[in-house]
């Protein structure tokens, strides 16, 4: 694709979150506009983990922030349990926010350094006390225990903990409000290698224990594969490929997905190393390429890619959708 289209949207009762034609633009001065997210559509079913993967500038974090309205939505829909969050304001927006919680990349700077960690975790409960129901010191202790931070350290401040511990506290804070959707934006990228696995396993345990639906954003293809049921590959504000994780990693059809898989230090066996040889230069998001936004770096690009934006199409009848005029031929498989 890097294209548009709705073929990937599922008509199922258990879809919890549906993003349709989401557009996020930022003013860049002199009447120019950064096209951060351009007509992106995908959905997440209840209990699913959806991974969003792509390089810096692909819009993956902006999508996450737009869903919980940390950035303004320029156009499009974010439908959560049948309500479009894009249009909500004031008290209506405030009411829905505890249902969607987020954890961030930098675990230390995302915690208030002046507050005790017990208060950091309890803050949402204190704010929401009347709406959420009763809460108590026991509830905080239980949360700290669940994420593996000893409750007796509750009076300490964030700087007294390591990065991994701070990320656990960030997770406890997010879980305190009993959310349905947990959005994780590069939650392990800032952590040491030996700590990453602890946090990834913890997220899986919490997902099961609290019945969460998870949006997991990362640039690390191995990490995303480990946690996700389905994935979306994004490039320069557009969706390239979407489908079940096992399917996309075993039969990547979009040239960009293949380039990513070929570029990692120990490349995936499903691609050739040369497929990673796309140019260094990411085009400007203020003046994105015409047609398929990936055509300037794509080894398979032809004239049509420059002129016509591809639309997502299903491969066979399986959970695999690609937006590309020349997807890498994979034999059509049926589910």
């Amino acid at each position: 694709m890097a294209g548009t289209g709705h073929a990937q949207l599922r008509d199922r009762d258990d879809v919890l979150l549906r993003i349709k034609d989401l557009v996020v633009q930022f003013p860049a001065g002199r009447r120019r506009v950064v096209h951060a997210v351009s007509e992106v559509s995908f959905d997440v079913a209840e209990g699913e983990t959806l991974g969003i993967v792509g390089e810096s500038g692909c819009g993956k974090s902006t999508v996450a922030r737009a869903i919980i309205r940390l950035v303004d939505i320029t156009a499009g829909e974010v439908v959560y349990e049948g309500r479009d969050l894009a249009g909500l304001e004031g008290e209506d927006l405030r009411k829905v926010r505890p249902r969607l919680q987020m954890i961030f990349q930098d675990p230390i700077s995302s915690l208030n350094p002046r507050r005790r960690v017990r208060d950091v975790i309890a803050e949402g409960l204190a704010v929401w006390g009347d709406d959420i129901g009763s809460w108590s010191r026991d509830r905080i202790d239980e949360l700290m225990d669940a994420v593996g931070v000893e409750a007796r350290y509750g009076a300490r401040r964030p700087h007294e903990f390591s990065g991994g511990q701070c990320q656990r506290i960030g997770i406890a804070r997010a879980l305190a409000l009993d959310p349905k959707v947990l959005i994780c934006d590069e939650p392990v990228s800032a952590l040491d290698v030996s700590i990453q696995a602890q946090i990834l396993n913890l997220l899986k345990d919490m997902k099961r224990r609290y019945g969460l639906t998870v949006l997991f954003i990362s640039h690390d293809l191995s990490v995303v594969k480990n946690v996700s049921d389905r994935i979306v590959v994004m490039y320069l504000g557009k969706v390239c490929e979407i489908g079940s994780t096992a399917e996309i990693y075993s039969h990547p059809a979009h040239p960009y997905t293949r380039a990513l898989l070929a570029s990692i230090p120990e490349p995936a066996p499903t691609v050739d190393a040369e497929e990673g040889d796309i140019g260094d230069e990411l085009p400007s998001a203020t003046d994105p390429p015409s047609g398929c936004r990936f055509h300037t770096r794509c080894p398979r690009a032809t004239d049509v890619c420059r002129d016509v934006e591809p639309v997502t199409e299903q491969i066979g009848d399986i959970d695999h959708f690609v937006a590309c005029h020349h997807p890498v031929a994979v034999e059509v498989r049926t589910g």
């Binding site: 030996s194 700590i195 594969k225 490349p267 990673g276 040889d277």
Partner: protein, 358 residues
């Protein structure tokens, strides 16, 4: 064992390097007795997590430590005593014979100077080139590092370039004086995977074309695996295992190396594969106990692991490891079975009765 008479002398040889930083809370023992050899044309990867001492080791080689650092040990480059050269204030050694590329190209470039001028500066200072000669050479160097449109780029500022192109400028600067040893400290940590591949390919090509040796400092085991001849794994200021890359990744002996490899998700693992994390976290470097630093997190730990720091066994240049109960040996198997039966290691770490570690 007898050293082969035909064996060439290493280009760089480090023996028993120690680096301490005095702080208000006590001395931080950042590097505790590191030794290794690097031969002409080879790449050595130094792998470790934050605080392992890998970057401090590199900065010591390049004489870039703050004045407060207390250093001991020997560093020999091509027969010369590098620490003596540093003490004598030698101007045309660091940055000429031996150069370094840092993690973040934005902070190693001057933001208010055109990139051509910055490369030219090195050539003028170290090699005495005239301004116009140096600018011409700068353009050639940009071409060597695969910079698109080098003639236009020389007059651009760093902020006008992408992260990948900035790192190419830094590499061009490092190459300017035809160094024989390039130290790359996490050169691709700040860039995207597609750019990372290009930069690592570039460094590989330059090393081969110019017969350079390279020290590649990284936290990424995948990078070390694909790009290095030899690998040294550091933990808490010590090299805990070193071998050729194949041996290290497929026949490791140190439990930390093994645990690290088991804990990372890999692209060919099945979806939702349960990871084996390393329990606990890295140790404090102030007043470390006289014991194996990894023992508190190690599923093999026995009483003797807590009684002293294990030596790095074996000859320099061969497979060496600092462990009393190495994985893949009878001693290691016995230690593991004993801990499983007891349900706990000598250091108090709970161990499950079966299955993997963690």
């Amino acid at each position: 064992m007898v050293e082969q008479a035909s064996a060439p002398a290493p280009l760089l040889s480090v023996r028993d390097l120690h680096v301490r930083f005095p702080t208000e809370r006590g001395a931080v023992n950042a590097v505790n007795g590191v030794s290794f050899d690097l031969y002409e044309g080879k790449t050595l990867a130094i792998v470790g997590e934050s605080g392992s001492g890998k970057s401090v080791t590199a900065k010591t080689l390049m004489n870039l430590l703050p004045r407060t650092a207390q250093v001991s040990g020997e560093v020999t480059y091509d027969g010369q005593d590098v620490r003596a050269l540093a003490a004598a204030g030698t101007k045309h050694f660091f940055g000429v014979q031996m150069t370094m590329v840092f993690q973040d190209p934005m902070t190693s470039l001057n933001p208010v100077k055109r990139v051509g001028e910055q490369i030219a500066e090195t050539l003028r200072y170290h090699l005495g080139r005239s301004r116009s000669e140096a600018l011409e050479e700068a353009e050639e160097l940009l071409e060597v590092v695969g910079m698109p449109e080098p003639a236009r780029r020389v007059s651009q500022y760093p902020h006008e370039l992408s992260g990948g192109l900035r790192q190419r400028v830094v590499i061009a600067m490092a190459l300017a004086c035809q160094p024989r040893l390039l130290i790359a400290d996490e050169p691709t940590t700040a860039v995207d995977v597609t750019v990372q591949k290009h930069l690592l390919d570039l460094l590989d090509r330059l090393r081969r074309d110019r017969g350079m040796s390279m020290i590649l400092i990284t936290h990424d085991l995948g990078v070390a695996h694909g790009r290095a001849d030899d690998v040294a794994v550091m933990y808490a200021g010590r090299v805990v295992e070193t071998a050729d890359a194949r041996t290290l990744f497929f026949d490791m002996r140190h439990p930390y190396t093994e645990a690290l490899l088991r804990s990372i998700p890999r692209i060919d693992d099945p979806v939702h594969h349960r990871l084996d994390p390393i329990p606990g976290r890295p140790p404090e470097l102030i007043d470390p106990p006289e014991a194996c630093a990894f023992a508190p997190r190690c599923i093999y730990a026995q009483g003797d692991c807590l009684g002293g720091v294990p030596e790095l066994s074996g000859l320099v240049g061969l497979h060496r490891f600092a462990c009393l109960h190495p994985t893949g040996t009878e001693r290691g198997m016995a230690a593991m079975s004993a801990n499983r039966a007891a349900g706990v290691t000598a250091a108090g770490l709970p161990v499950a009765d079966s299955g993997g570690g963690g």
